[in-house]
Symmetry: D2
């Protein structure tokens, strides 16, 4: 049973989604009619709007939280975040970092994964972005797990830290490489994401020159399959590019 302050995902029969915070007696209006949320509402419930449209009350997935961060920046996609996590050893209890905080999408996924026995250090140089990320992380109740640091890492470095994995989502990843060398535990993970091939190339060679082992660069595609009684087929359109992911490991000199 949802309590005041619990997050839930509202999914309309048409496929619209809303990430909402439960409050007993609150109302919500959509193109498909109005809804009232009352005590006793539970994940898995189906509601009818005053216009008779169906709405499902669901547990938000990482995917939902990521998509619904309030944003100032483009966000990372779940397909990429999932792959980034699998390409490192991170899980419950890991100590990880990201540059920059963006809107907090990756931060959210990291915090859920490492949990309260782990820690996420989130570096960002622009105050307005950091604000959004902090707001989102608080909304999701993950603020104990994340430490936000306002800093231009390219200029000033990270400071006195060690990380099991560093996730880099800035336009010039190569400016971070030498600083990263000092804070990633040897044998552990660098992951960067860049949209352009020039960025990939420059980062790749900077990593090698600085004493990293570059494992691979990949891109991921996601295609939806439409399932209908009269015929199953792939969707006609898809996101065909978000970025290239580069995975590397720090080496001892």
């Amino acid at each position: 049973m949802l309590k005041d302050g619990n997050l839930f995902l509202l999914y309309s029969e048409r496929g619209d989604t809303y990430l909402l915070t439960f409050k007993d007696g609150s109302s919500f209006s959509t193109n498909l009619g109005n809804l009232i949320f009352e005590k006793g509402l539970t994940y898995g419930d189906t509601l009818l709007s005053n216009k008779g449209a169906k709405f499902y009350v669901l547990k938000p997935s990482n995917f939902d939280l990521i998509k619904k961060v309030q944003r100032k920046t483009t966000i990372l996609y779940p397909k990429d975040i999932g792959y980034m996590f699998m390409s490192t050893g991170i899980g419950s209890g890991s100590i990880v970092a990201e540059v920059g905080s963006g809107s907090g999408a990756l931060t959210t996924a990291l915090a859920i994964t490492v949990g309260e026995s782990g820690k996420v250090y989130s570096f960002e140089r622009r105050e307005e972005h950091q604000k959004y990320a902090i707001k989102n992380i608080k909304k999701y109740g993950l603020e104990k797990i994340v430490e936000f640091i306002l800093k231009d890492v390219a200029d000033e470095g990270f400071g006195d830290y060690t990380f099991e994995a560093l996730f880099v989502d800035v336009p010039e990843p190569w400016e971070i490489v030498e600083h990263a060398k000092k804070v990633i535990i040897p044998g552990y993970f660098w992951v960067s994401l860049s949209p352009n091939f020039e960025q990939v190339k420059k980062t790749h060679f900077k990593l090698i020159e600085t004493g990293f082992f570059v494992e691979r660069t990949v891109e991921l595609f996601e295609r939806e399959i439409l399932v209908r009684e009269y015929g199953v087929r792939p969707s006609e359109r898809m996101i065909s590019h978000t970025g290239f992911l580069t995975i590397a490991r720090n080496l001892n000199d």
Copy 2:
């Protein structure tokens, strides 16, 4: 510094990888020559074989552990596992289940993600598969997190459990659906993976008929990018199909 019994990934300059258990003074032979592992060896070290070839000593990623499970069955790919995790709310502390255990590849990734504050229930009907999965999980030191259950879920159901997410990797997912209805917390997650479109269709309609909300079915592609000084280009060959992923949520009646 590695201790006896620690796992490490050995990565040759040619790209061959070996998942090994450290033992002081042990030796290892490859096509590129022989190596001896001695006290003081640390993640991030570079070793030279007696033939002069370079080898890197690295922290195994989830990806590495998954690829290196000893197997009797085809395994899930990291791109798919990562997406499955993002499509659910799982992270540190989650209570999850899988049918079947396979060779323990997904089990491994689940256990790392949920950690010791979480739990993974792994159902399998064939004893010989279960044995492999158990062996792999023990090798990886994750046995406290996973409970293995030998059972034909299609026939007998799950028993008295509740899960935040159920991962289904069997040839006939539709036979699991009615049993799943009773153990997935309402609003929470069903994820199945099937190679053929007929399986997707049959599972999709069985889920709807049984009172699930089907969110989407997707397929993921992974393409490597080759980075060389003289030219960057996509790799000429790729894995183009592993399976279709279907994500659904349990609903209250």
Copy 3:
């Protein structure tokens, strides 16, 4: 130098395209301003609108003609048509057929390829579609090469013809297979395009049962690459599905 009645492609600096028929002194208005086309205009010319926008006067490609047919139906994509032609032996002088005419997009490409020493038979059962196809073919000056036949081939068969290749773009290709058996020269080509898996499967087995050799079914993806001084990357969105192409050969009994 363009003469009255010549087709040309007008390409704006913003990427809008118009397929126009030249007439000395005619004017044309766009969002980017007005243009006047005067005697002496030649393929390759750059024009300026009264608002100062650049427009290029270009020779229409097959691609342009296909995209610009006036349409009642969805059209085939150049990536698919090009592959269909390569998968058969057709070229200058070939005798080929299609079911149905659609809006004349494939008809156009076929007519340009086989030329006046070849012949295209275009079968269509709905008069209104045929009208569009005829209109487009006339506009392109290809009417000598194409014979349009109003007929429900599934019901009545083709009649007394022989073809080197038959291109099938109807919702139920399997209804054409037995008729096709009689008109495709043995050893020669069947090509069908269907959006759904179920259509592919039904057509495949009907072809085998009827004495065809099925070579393969494929799908093609086309992704644009954006080239900018500051960075080259794939386009963020793409058409991810048009249809599956099935290639088969007629066999002697």
Copy 4:
């Protein structure tokens, strides 16, 4: 009925293909047994080897001819060639050129498409490659349509020609651009294929600088679909990269 000297494609029940020249009474041996080809053999026939294996006698497609050129070089793929043709206005009667001849794969497809009312000029600077291309074109009976020119176009230019389309498959397409400017009819087509991003970028800007209009750069993927009674699914592996295609048009100064 096949006559001495006719080409045919032999397709084994296992999927092996052979491009053969018919000669009455000739024999052929394969892993699946021996075959004898006798008078009366016709496209569409099914033969049995002495070991009982089935073989189909088929009309070679463009695709088959392209795949079966005797080669010294990597060849263009049908998916790319088909798209190149659709992206230009070529068909029966067109006057076109290519640099370089390679093994004659593209040359073959061009010659079939333009036919005897058209012309293909094939420029190549290495004599040994040209020899292969000539041999293949003769084997296919297309030698009247193709003129082979031994010349380093990058150094010496094309000479006194005009083309409706120029197809460029050399490592440094930008070296051809200024020469191409003089021989492509204004408004008509440049098509180049390059495997690396850097080549695409350099060619793109050289084309613009030289007074071409660059329409687009694309890449094409081809994925096979496996159709079996018990399940239809995409093939597990595919060719994921051959090259990027750049389409441009010559402009008047």
